[in-house]
């Protein structure tokens, strides 16, 4: 289990991390979400010792993370980069050896993973000869070839075509199934909702929401109610100030309600207005939870406004 415990980091007057705390369990895919500059990249760099935190600790399986531990991690930084003139297989093998594999084992692993990524025929090409998408695949292969126990990927889906997204999703799910902890950051919230079981939402250097997506949804007091009453044009709602209308499209209305709303009463009112074709009561979408979580609350917690973190 990966534990991020009270990490804090300042760059001059800019607060990048302000006591971020969360855990990632093995075998689970964690979506690491937050607006730009919220501290995602800094957190990941702290995990890999690339940035020294001012405060707090990163633990793996209960112990502090050191270089030996990190050899069992795989990393894909946001700023992609490999050796442009190095051959693909040699490159993958080199990084696998740096993670402790013998030369032979690293070569074997490199071939196996390149094959899996559909790059077997490009093993001897120089990296710079590959297309952008294929270079991304090599980057992922580098993070995977030493069979890490923890995968940390910064924006792995950015710049991928739908095919690439499918491959990436499949690989991450497969890794999680074999017990690997996966943490990745993304701005594509619908994708995160499909791929992840858990999410961590970070804003202004602090974790503002964390847990299983389903749990967060049910914990949220917000519910969506979509009602379609034939020929009503939504007039059955008139006069009820307690309901927030999110969308109104002729007969169809989308309402924001609390989870304590009296659904029976609402349904009866709708029926009275006409034939009810749709009556759907749903938890909010992840993107709505996200917006809710990252918007500074009115009671104010004294957090300084987040600024751009130098990368």
């Amino acid at each position: 289990m990966l534990e991020i415990d009270d990490l804090a980091k300042r760059y001059g007057s800019v607060v990048a991390l302000d006591g971020a705390t969360f855990t990632a369990r093995p075998g689970r895919i964690v979506g690491f979400l937050g607006p730009n500059g919220a501290g995602k990249t800094t957190t990941m760099r702290c995990i890999f010792g690339l940035v020294e935190a001012d405060r707090g600790q990163v633990r793996w399986k209960g112990g502090p993370v050191d270089r030996e531990t990190r050899l069992r991690f795989g990393y894909m930084p946001e700023q992609r980069g490999l050796y442009p003139r190095m051959r693909v297989l040699e490159q993958v093998s080199y990084f696998a050896q740096q993670h402790g594999l013998t030369a032979r084992a690293a070569d074997d692993a490199g071939r196996r993973w390149l094959d899996r990524m559909g790059l077997a025929d490009r093993a001897k090409s120089k990296l710079e000869e590959l297309s952008h998408g294929n270079q991304q695949r090599v980057q992922l292969t580098v993070a995977l070839a030493h069979e890490p126990e923890l995968l940390v990927l910064d924006e792995p889906f950015s710049g991928l075509d739908p095919l690439g997204i499918a491959t990436m999703t499949e690989v991450l799910q497969d890794r999680a199934r074999s017990g690997v902890g996966v943490v990745f950051s993304s701005h594509q919230l619908d994708l995160v909702e499909d791929v992840c079981e858990d999410v961590v939402i970070i804003a202004r250097g602090r974790v503002v929401a964390a847990g299983a997506i389903e749990e967060l949804k049910s914990r949220s007091g917000r519910r969506h109610l979509e009602v379609e009453v034939v020929g009503s044009d939504g007039t059955w709602l008139d006069g009820d100030g307690s309901l927030t209308v999110l969308e109104h499209d002729r007969d169809r209305v989308k309402l924001l309600v609390s989870d304590s709303v009296d659904l029976d009463a609402l349904l009866q009112r709708a029926r009275a207005a006409g034939e009810v074709r749709t009556f759907a009561y749903q938890p909010p979408k992840l993107s709505e939870l996200f917006m809710e979580a990252v918007t500074p609350s009115s009671d104010g917690d004294g957090a300084e406004p987040a600024a751009e973190v130098p990368s």
Binding site: G49, P77, R85, Q98, H99
Partner: protein, 398 residues
């Protein structure tokens, strides 16, 4: 995994990637050809010219050959004498370039005869031929006059040649060694030190460094880089030295002095130390730059120091290898790699001085590496513009 394996993997990658590159292979091939060529080409062009060929028209005085050879020997020239049956054959040989000059002297020495050249008269041949003919004719006149033969022979004795401070061939070879050594060290520092510099910037620019540093410590990365590129530099140096010695020996341009193995050892030691010192400095300065265009800018302080050290070595130290400038420069790490092999080549340095100088330089490399690695660690992940050393030092991961 041990740190050394990590360092070695970095070094091995540099050796394999750069060693196989066309640039490196071309530069090794080019320098080797240049070295061999500088020995072989003069031999091919001028080798035969060392021996002058004089055609002698027959009948000629019986002692002429001996007299010519003896006179030539006195002025440190080698000649070969080719007899021709008649003047016509000799003239033909001259115009075809088989001989450098044709000498026709009556067999009874009644006349001084003639010396023919194809074009411009050769000073050396003119002197040799004139000396030989005059001495033969004088000898004949004196013999006819019944002069005492013993007195005559004694009168023909030449003065004994002596030098106050004889310059031997070995001395010349030393001078050559010293100069070539200083140039090689300078070239080594510049070409391979700059490879470290650009390598660091390239890693930073291609952003691969973040992936590398997620497993490799910054100082191990810098060390591996310096080590790997240094091994390539040493290979090139050794290829150069072997090629030069092989060419020198095979073409017999000059004989290698007895001090050769010692000089090569000195050259190798100081090549390694000089390279390690300067490439470490260049490596961490490279980390402060973010684009290759800034490389020369970033490296200016180091290149200035290297150039000044080199000029101190080839002017002040060659001029006076035991002087005060030479002695001071021996104990300054920046100049020691140039100065010590030079002084050693002139036999103007004591073993104690060499050992102290090596200790100081190694200590300086260690200090520079420790500081450099920290600055490197702080700077290498930063992008966007040049970084100040102070900021890099502060932001370093301990």
């Amino acid at each position: 995994m041990s740190r050394w394996r990590s360092v070695w993997l970095v070094a091995k990658r540099e050796i394999l990637e750069r060693g196989r590159s066309r640039g490196f292979l071309f530069s090794v091939a080019f320098t080797t050809l240049l070295v061999i060529g500088s020995f072989v080409v003069p031999t091919l062009l001028f080798g035969d010219k060392d021996t002058k060929t004089i055609g002698v028209v027959q009948p000629a005085p019986p002692d002429l050959d001996t007299a010519l050879t003896a006179t030539a020997g006195r002025v440190d020239q080698k000649i070969s004498v080719v007899p021709y049956d008649d003047a016509g054959a000799a003239q033909a040989a001259l115009s075809e370039g088989h001989v450098d000059a044709v000498l026709a002297v009556p067999a009874d020495l009644t006349a001084a005869g003639t010396l023919h050249f194809a074009k411009e008269p050769d000073q050396a041949i003119t002197q040799i031929a004139s000396g030989a003919v005059v001495s033969l004719r004088v000898q004949q006149v004196l013999t006819d006059a019944n002069v005492d033969q013993a007195a005559l022979t004694a009168a023909q004795q030449v003065p004994t040649v002596q030098s106050l401070d004889p310059q031997t061939e070995a001395d010349q070879a030393r001078f050559l060694f010293a100069n070539i050594g200083a140039v090689l060290i300078l070239i080594g520092i510049f070409s391979f030190g700059f490879t470290v510099l650009t390598g660091v910037i390239e890693e930073k620019q291609s952003r691969v460094v973040e992936v590398v540093l997620s497993t490799v410590r910054p100082r191990d990365l810098l060390m591996g880089k310096v080590l790997g590129i240094g091994i390539l530099g040493l290979v090139q140096l050794l290829v150069f030295v072997v090629a030069a010695m092989a060419a020198a020996t095979l073409t017999r341009r000059f004989t290698l002095p007895e001090t050769t193995p010692g000089a090569i050892l000195m050259l190798t030691i100081w090549f390694v130390l000089g390279y390690a010192l300067y490439s470490t400095a260049l490596g961490f300065l490279g980390a402060l730059a973010s684009r290759l265009e800034e490389a020369s800018n970033a490296s200016t302080p180091v290149t200035m120091i290297a150039m000044v050290s080199y000029f101190v070595a080839i002017f002040a130290v060659i001029n006076d290898p035991s002087g005060i400038v030479a002695r001071i420069a021996t104990f300054i790490p920046a100049s020691a790699p140039f100065v010590v092999p030079l002084r050693a080549a002139f036999d103007a340095i004591s073993p104690v001085e060499i050992v102290i100088s090596i200790v100081i330089t190694v200590a300086a490399i260690w200090v520079l590496f420790t500081i450099g690695a920290r600055v490197y660690a702080g700077a290498v992940l930063q992008t966007g513009g040049r970084m100040k050393i102070r900021d890099a030092w502060r932001s370093a991961v301990g």
